[in-house]
Every structure is written in C-alpha cells, then in structure tokens.
C-alpha cells in the first residue's frame, strides 16, 4: 500500500498511474490525480523545507504561503480547510494537500493577513504549523512603546503576529521559522532601542508543524494549554472582580436613596419631592451599565440557553433583575398608571446589588475551583522540559518532545528523569514520590525501570527510552485522571435528572407566587407580588446542585493520584466504599512475587557461608528461579562464586555439579534417598521449613549431607499492617492462590488472613470471586492485572497492583502504582471520604434550594410575617456555590489513616 499524495487516498502498489519527480516515483489513484501532479509537482513535493512553512512575496504583490497543518487525519479535511480559507477576502488560490499535510495559499496582503488564514484553518478544526516564541523585552514604559514594537514586528516578513504584555514585559511572537529566526527578531527589537532577554524558554509550541513530532508533543501541548486555561481563568476572575466593584460602587447610593423614609433622609429627599424624583430617575440611568456591562454575561448566557430551549442560572438572574428594573422605571416615568402612589416604588437597588453579589460569588468560585484542580495541574507540571540525549557519541540537550524510542539519555544527580526507560549504565537512588506516593527513594540498578518525571537523587546513570510522549506513565496517569474526573458516579445521574427540570420549575414557581400574592396577598399587592417573584428567581441556585458531585470527584480523584492511586471512574469510587470482602491474590500482591533466600542450616562441621557458596555456584549453571534466588542471596553476602563443571539437572529432583573440585548435590528428599544419603535430622527441619511456606533444598558435599538452603516468596513488609487495617475497617479478607494449602496457610498465618482459597487454578479465580458474590457480598479483587485480569473484571472492584510503568491496566477499576497493599486501605478510605463529601454537598445544595424557595415565595409570611428581601436572597445564592466548592476543597486535606481507629 502507498499513498496518493494528491488526494491522500491509500492505493495498491504498483499502480497504473505513475510519475517521476526529483528522482522519486510517485503513484496515483487515477489519471486525474496524475495530471494534477504533473502540472505542478512542486505543489505536492516541495524542494526544500519539507516540514516547515515557507513564505514568499511575488513581484505583483501576491504572497505565496505554505503552511504545515497538524492532525489532518483524512482527505475530506482538506476540502473543509480549503473552503474555510476561500471564504477570506483576497485569496487567489488555496490548495490543501492531504498527503503532505500542507496548505498552499496565494493571497493579497492588503486584503487579508497570514493570521487570518491561520485562524481560518483553526476554525475548520485544525492547527497550522508555526513557531511560537516568548521573548522578554526591557525598557518599555508605556503602551505606545508596546504598539511601536508590535507594529514593527508585524511588518517583518515571516512574523505572523506579535503581542506584548507590558506588565510582564513578555512578547509572544508567532513566526514562520523558514522566513525568520530568533536573532533577527531580537535585532529588530533592539534596533528600536529596547533590550531583550530570554524569558525562561524558547519553545516551539504545540503548533509547530514537524510531522515527526506529531503525537509526541502532546504533553507539551497540554502544559501550554494549562497555562492558557489558567490565564483565561485569571482574566475571567479579574473581569468579574471589576464588574463586582463597579456594581458595588453604584449599589451604595442606589440603596440609600431607595429607602428615603426608612433611612430618615433629609426632608428634601422624601417621597413626592422633585429632588427624589430626579434622583430616582438618575438611579435608573446608572443601573443600566450595571445591567448591561457588569451583568452582560447573565443576558448572553440566558439568551444562548433560551435559543437551545434550556434555562440556567443566568436565565433566573436575568429575568429577576430585568423585572425589578422595568417595574422601577415604569414607576418613575409613568407613576400615574398606578392606582395608588404607594405602588410607584423603585427597586433599582435589587438590580444593582444582585449583579454585584452574584459577580462576587462567581469570582470567589473561580478562585476556589482553581484550587480544586491543583492535583492534575501538579501532575502535568511534573513533565521535564529537556533531556540530555547521547546521539552520535555527543551529549546534546533537546526538548523532551523530541526524545524518540531507544534514545540513550544521561541523567545527573538532582535532575528530573525525562521519559520512561530502563537503566543501561550506572545506578542511583530515585525519588518516585510524585508518581507512586512512596516517600523513600528507590535504589535503581542496570536493567531497572525508571519512570519519567521522577527525580534522580544520588548517582549519574544512562538509560534507554522505552516510552515517550503520550505512552509514558505520567501521560497515562494524567489521561486516566482526566477521564475519571469527567465520569459520573451513579449518584450524579439522579441529580442530572432533577437539574434538567429545576430552572423551568423555578420560573413557574415565581409566576405562581406572583399570582397568589397578587390575588390574595396584602396591600400593596402588586409590590409584594413583584418582590416575592423576584426573590424566588434569585434565591434558586442550580449551580450548587450541578457543582456538588463533580467538584468533590475532581478533588478526590486528584488526591488519589497524588498518593499513587488511580481511580478509573466515579462509579468505581462510589462502589469502593460499599465493599464487604477483599480477595487478595497471594503471589505478587501479599508477597513480593519473587523467591528469595530465607534460611541456611549447616551440619557435619560445614559453615553456612560455604554451603551457600557451593550451592549458589552449582545453580549458576541452572536457570531455575529458585536457583536465581540462591545466587542473589550469595551475592548479597558478597560471596565470590566458583565455576561449576559437569552440571546435571535431574528433573523433579534437583541438580548436581562439580564445584571447586568437590561433587555437590542440591535437591529434595527423593534425590537424597535415591543416592542413599543419610540426611540425619535434616528431614524434620525441612518439614518445619515447608510448614512455614518455604522451599527447602538439601545440600550434599562429596556424598555427605552438609545442610539445607531454603528459599521462599517473602511477604511484603507492610502487608501484615495493611491486612490488619482492612479487618479493622470491617472487611472480610480472603487470600486466593494456586499454591498448595500448606504453603498458603503458612503465609496466611503470617499476615493474619482468616479465609484461604488454595490450589485455585488461575482460570478459576474469577469463578471463586463470583462464588463470593453469590453469597451476597460486594467483592474487591486485588491482583497483578495480567494473570488475574478475569478475576479483576469479575469483581465489583478490581484493584491492580501496578508493575512499573504500566499504569493503564485495562481490567482494573483502581490501579495502585506503588506495589503496597496499603494502597488498598488508602483507596477505600479515600472513596469513603469523597462519597461523604459528595453527600454533604448534595444534601447542602438540596436543603438550601428546598428550604430557600418556599421561604422566598413567602410561605412563612401568613404564620410568622417573615418575608425574604431579594437582597438577602442574592447574597445566599451567591455564596451557596462558593460553600460547595469550599467544602470539596476540604478533601484536599485528606490524610491516610493507619492508626488504631478505622
């Protein structure tokens, strides 16, 4: 298969339609494509700058532009982009090539600009390739300096846009790398009399068009957009704050003159005076900018929702403040239409104060929400920026996005490891706390896996990149956390149903209240009816309801990621707190999963070290995992091993070889008997070891019993604590294993597990989980995610113990990056804390709305004479959603508990 570079279609090769250009053969799907290619081959195969944008101005003023386009996945995209570009004025020619992923545009610069073309490409859903440059500029004092530099830069050919922030003294310049470069841009600025400095990084943005980087620059792009999102949030916060201040400043006089009799204002401001009339009139005028500038988002939001036949908080506020303003204005302009003077009342204060308070509430909410998403931001920020790669024997620093598989990367002490890989030279201790939550640095030697974004502590080492870009553990974690934060726990589905009906119901309630108060309420009925209706509209807070679950979920799941616990979905989080049984796989979950040397017994005058030395030397010729454990045990003691000769393995019995001139046998009791060796009381000792779950091996030297070496899969150091904690939390702990009952019981006794399912074949594990479920229990299965995948999937919650950098384990609902069982405890505690928080939020939000609405509607008035002021309602509404976010943020203080109380 090959690709037709004209239309981008995949075609069979060899094709009937061929053409040669620049000593290269191109094949096409049809005669038409071939002709098109032959007419202008350079359109499809540019001679140089294959991946970069080019740009030239022809003599007749028409500019030719060639822009790389990112993420073009199909040929039909080309048509979409072309269409969008042709909509611009002054475009003479626009062709987008699906195969080379480039746009060729000829245009008249007097009518359109490069930026507009790039925007058009963006509008059609794609990105144009260009380089982005952040440059610090010193010596600017005012806005005119800024515009001078901006003007000068945008006149430079190759510069697409330049925007300068005077406050931070940073210029953001987009340019075509083929046309200009950093030093010439610097020159231009310096020629104007300003100084430039590198503002942290010179980075090609996500939008650079190098196709080799495609996909790999995702992490970089994310960082970039995190910043942009942060900026957008910051901007929104500031704008809301300004709007609040503006509305608040107007509110004060408006409020004072709205209650002349209540506030005992001087005589000349009392009702009926001309002065008060004109004051009211000007109040009506000054509240207009409050509504249409400070409160503009209520109207635009309400209108967009209305067009979509839905309603939201903006609808309620917009209707409320408009009603108050309209009534007041009619009262001022046409007081004569009211039957009594008492009805010609103004409520401009409601309009101004509501806008001020709700804006303040929204601003505070943005601040609080920023803190809620801190965890994921922290994760994204972990990504290293550069890597020191050894290429062609030279060490070069390159951006992390350019690291490719199998690159050899050098890491010095104190540096961040850029991508995932395996150590090929050197060793060190690595702080992996940011990924696994494990605070003690991990020793790493040749062959060990290192995880990107962790920090090298002590030694220098070289490692080979095994995962880059979006495949790294960090990128996967970020992806999983984001996905989980967007999922919904079942509890939210009910809330969603309610909130779909909520706002229209509130509008109906407001209309009903108006009718009831108007018809049977006390005089002045119209005033009461209006105040009550407006209060109902304003007190309702659909935001608090909608926010309750997602915000807690975001904090909870983020908190989990901080501690090395990846929760796949909101549903998993909700189920995890309802568990009553935990099934633990033995090998690799409770235990380390690898045998290690545990005991050496020496008899007949042999020394322990000699026995270890001889048996380990024999095992050098074997490849058995038990043998490896013995060799490792000897190496750990610093023993130098001999070379074995005449090695012989007796299947089912043991091994024998000549070591250091002596004949050594290493095997089970059968081997001893077959060779008629008197093992004396070693047999009893071996039985005792076997009862402890260990595997004993007899050692003979030149036909004489010398002792026993025993190996066992050792229990992880914190398994016992974790299991005790799980039991304290009221959970039944079950161990499942394929081992024989004796070994299984020995381990179970060590860690305090009561119920053991032994001799279970791997394929039967899922069935055993199902059996437990049929006892009516909600079961969690903890396993390694590979052999245990069916059981993990069968369980209500599958928890996979992470193995190195594989974090996205398909079958699991929760992945524990750190191999410790304490993660299970933590996951359950976190799930409980998060669900508790969600419930608090939901109860709070529901209670607020169900209690607030009837009071606002005046239900308490007939009994106690209590009627809510719309101003109070606005304050309550504005702060109820802030309260929800603040409560969710309490979860950030969640600490795992390993104390006596559960």
């Amino acid at each position: 298969m090959t690709k037709d570079i004209v239309c981008g279609m995949e075609i069979e090769t060899p094709s009937a339609f061929k053409s040669t250009f620049q000593e290269e053969v191109f094949e096409f799907c049809s005669e038409k494509c071939k002709n098109e290619f032959d007419a202008d081959p350079e359109k499809f195969v540019p001679r140089e700058h294959k991946s970069e944008a080019t740009y030239q101005i022809t003599s007749n003023g028409v500019e030719k532009l060639e822009l790389p386009i990112i993420d073009m996945s199909c040929a039909s995209c080309a048509v979409t982009i072309e269409k969008e570009i042709r909509k611009l004025p002054g475009i003479q020619k626009a062709a987008v090539n699906g195969a080379t992923e480039k746009a060729y545009v000829e245009f008249d610069r007097s009518e359109t600009s490069v930026t507009q073309i790039i925007d058009a490409i963006k509008k059609s859903g794609y990105k144009a390739g260009y380089a982005k440059l952040r440059l610090g500029i010193r010596g600017m004092h005012c806005n005119s300096c800024v515009s001078q530099i901006e003007r000068e830069l945008s006149k430079t050919s190759g510069v697409l846009s330049a925007s300068i922030d005077l406050g931070t003294e940073v210029a953001l310049i987009k340019y075509l790398p083929a046309k200009t470069d950093l030093s010439s841009i610097k020159n231009i600025i310096e020629r104007l009399g300003y100084k430039t400095f590198d503002s942290s990084t010179l980075s090609k943005s996500s939008e650079t068009g190098e196709s080799e980087n495609k996909g790999k620059n995702k992490a970089g792009a994310e960082n970039d957009s995190v910043d942009e999102n942060q900026q957008a949030r910051e901007k929104e916060y500031k704008s809301l704050l300004y709007k609040f201040i503006f509305a608040a400043v107007i509110s004060v006089p408006v409020m004072i003159f709205s209650y002349p009799d209540f506030l005992r204002l001087p005589e000349q401001f009392q009702r009926g005076t001309d002065l008060l009339y004109w004051t009211w009139f000007s109040m009506g005028v000054v509240t207009l900018p409050v509504m249409f500038w400070a409160g503009s988002h209520f109207y635009t939001g309400a209108w967009s929702a209305f067009k979509n036949r839905s309603a939201n908080m903006h609808t309620l506020i917009a209707v409320g403040i408009t009603a108050a303003w309209l009534y007041s204005t009619i009262a001022v302009l046409f007081p004569e239409i009211f039957p009594t003077q008492a009805l010609a009342e103004v409520f401009y204060d409601v309009t101004a104060v509501v806008v001020a308070l709700v804006n303040l509430g929204l601003a505070l909410e943005i601040k609080a929400k920023g803190r809620s998403s801190e965890a994921i931001k922290k994760l994204m920020g972990l990504q290293a920026k550069t890597a020191r790669v050894v290429r062609n024997g030279k060490e070069i620093d390159i951006p992390v996005e350019e690291v490719v598989l199998d690159d050899i990367i050098l890491v010095r002490p104190g540096e961040k490891i850029p991508v995932d890989g395996a150590i090929v030279e050197g060793s060190s201790a690595v702080d992996e706390s940011m990924i696994t939550g494990e605070s003690i640095p991990t020793e790493k030697h040749i062959g060990d896996e290192v995880i990107g974004a962790t920090i090298n502590k002590t030694g220098s080492f070289k490692f080979k990149a095994t995962k880059v870009g979006k495949d790294t553990a960090l990128a996967q974690i970020v992806q999983m956390v984001e996905d989980a934060q967007s999922s919904k726990p079942p509890i939210q589905k009910i809330v969603d149903k309610v909130s779909g009906y909520f706002v229209p119901s509130v509008i109906i309630l407001a209309i009903l209240s108006f009718m009831v108060w108007y018809i049977i309420g006390p005089a002045p009925a119209l005033i009461y009816a209006l105040v009550v209706a407006v209060t109902v509209l304003i007190i309702a807070c659909p935001c608090a309801l909608g926010l309750a679950t997602p915000i807690s979920l975001m904090v909870g799941i983020g908190k989990g990621a901080e501690n090395g616990i990846l929760i796949r979905s909101g549903e998993a989080l909700e189920t995890a707190q309802k568990l009553d049984t935990i099934v633990l796989d033995k090998t690799g979950t409770i235990t380390e999963g690898q045998p290690s040397l545990t005991d050496i017994i020496a008899i007949n005058g042999f020394k322990e070290d000699d026995i270890l030395n001889l048996s380990a030397s024999v095992e050098r010729a074997s490849e058995h995992p038990l043998g490896e454990a013995i060799i490792k045990g000897a190496e750990d003691k610093g023993i130098t091993l001999f070379e074995p000769n005449n090695f012989n393995a007796v299947p089912g019995h043991g091994v024998e070889a000549e070591v250091d001139g002596r004949k050594i046998m290493l095997g089970n009791i059968k081997m001893m008997r077959d060779n008629s060796i008197d093992v004396e009381d070693l047999e009893n000792k071996s039985l005792k070891l076997a009862d402890e779950g260990k595997t004993p091996m007899f050692v003979t030297v030149d036909g004489i019993a010398a002792g026993i070496v025993a190996v066992a899969d050792t229990v992880k150091s914190d398994s016992k604590d974790a299991i005790a904690q799980l039991k304290k939390m009221g959970l039944e702990v079950v161990m499942i294993t394929g081992d024989n009952l004796r070994t299984a019981n020995a381990i179970a006794k060590q860690v305090g597990v009561d119920r053991v399912l032994a001799e279970v074949l791997p394929e039967d594990k899922a069935m055993n989980v199902q059996k437990l479920q049929s006892e009516g229990k909600i079961v969690a299965m903890v396993g390694d995610g590979i052999n245990d995948a069916p059981a993990l999937a069968q369980a209500d919650i599958g928890l996979a113990i992470g193995t190195g950098t594989d974090v996205a384990i398909e079958a699991s609902d929760i992945t524990l990056i750190k191999g410790s069982l304490k993660g299970v405890v933590l996951a359950i505690q976190l799930s409980k804390a998060t669900m508790r928080n969600i419930k608090q939020n939901l109860v709070g939000a529901f209670a607020y709305n169900t209690a607030g609405l009837p009071v606002a509607a005046g239900l308490l008035y007939p009994l106690f004479g209590i009627l809510l002021s719309p101003l109070l309602a606005a304050a309550a509404m504005a702060f109820s959603s802030v309260t929800v976010v603040t409560n969710a943020n309490r979860l950030r203080k969640f600490q795992p508990k390993f104390s006596n109380k559960s």
Binding site: E236, S486, I511
Partner: protein, 125 residues
C-alpha cells in the same frame, strides 16, 4: 375578583403553560452531520453561554469528531463532558478543541459542561 386579578390569573397561567411547553415539550431540530468520504462525521460546535448547534445527529458506527470552539471566558463552559463515552475536554478559549469517539449504539446521549448548566444532545441513529 377584580378585572385586574382575572387578568393576572389568566396571564400567569398562560405564561406557565408557555414555559412548560417551551422548555419541556417543544424540541428543536437537530443538526445532522454529513460524513466525509472516509466516514468521519465532523462538526464545529461553538460554545458561548450554550452550545450551538446543541442537538447533533450522527450515524452509529462511524467515527465522530466534534470541534469545540469556546468563544468566551466564563468559567461555566470550561469543560465539556460526554459522560456516556467517558470523554471530556478542557476548552481553551478561542481554540478549537476536538473530541473524537465512535458511537456504536443508537440512542440519545447528553453532553454538558462540568456543572450541567449548558447542555447538548448527541442523537445517534
């Protein structure tokens, strides 16, 4: 009952009827997406106080690419979520952010902002 009261009674009742009809019983026509030659169904959705178009009709079994363009900074619309597909995106203002997935089962799937204030619907046929 005074004439005014009767007017309020009738006016209010009809207003309520209007609200009920408009928000719950009327339905707007969905925007049908044409799929490209290779089956990709692609659409641009503008986000400003709401999604437009907000009802999108696609065919089942073919990949869908929805390009979201957020034309505001209001915090409400920062995230868009497709809970049924487990997809979400953070919408950077004035940037086109694509969401891609393939709906296999026909049905109606809601999408919304993080708080559920803005809503849209994906109809898979």
């Amino acid at each position: 009952m005074s004439p005014n009261e009767i007017i309020v009674l009738i006016g209010g009742t009809s207003l309520i009827a209007l609200v009920v009809w408009y928000f719950w019983f009327s339905s707007s026509e969905g925007t049908r997406i044409q799929s490209g030659t290779d089956g990709l169904q692609e659409a641009l959705i503008k986000v400003k106080g709401g999604y437009s178009p907000s009802v999108i009709v696609v065919e089942a079994g073919k990949p869908v690419k929805l390009n979201f363009l957020r034309e505001e900074t209001a915090a409400c619309s920062e995230h868009v979520i497709f809970p049924d597909f487990g997809k979400q995106a953070t919408l950077t203002p004035n940037r086109t952010i694509p969401i891609e997935f393939t709906p296999d089962t026909p049905g109606e799937y809601e999408f919304q902002c993080a708080m559920g204030m803005l809503r849209g619907k994906l109809i898979v046929e």
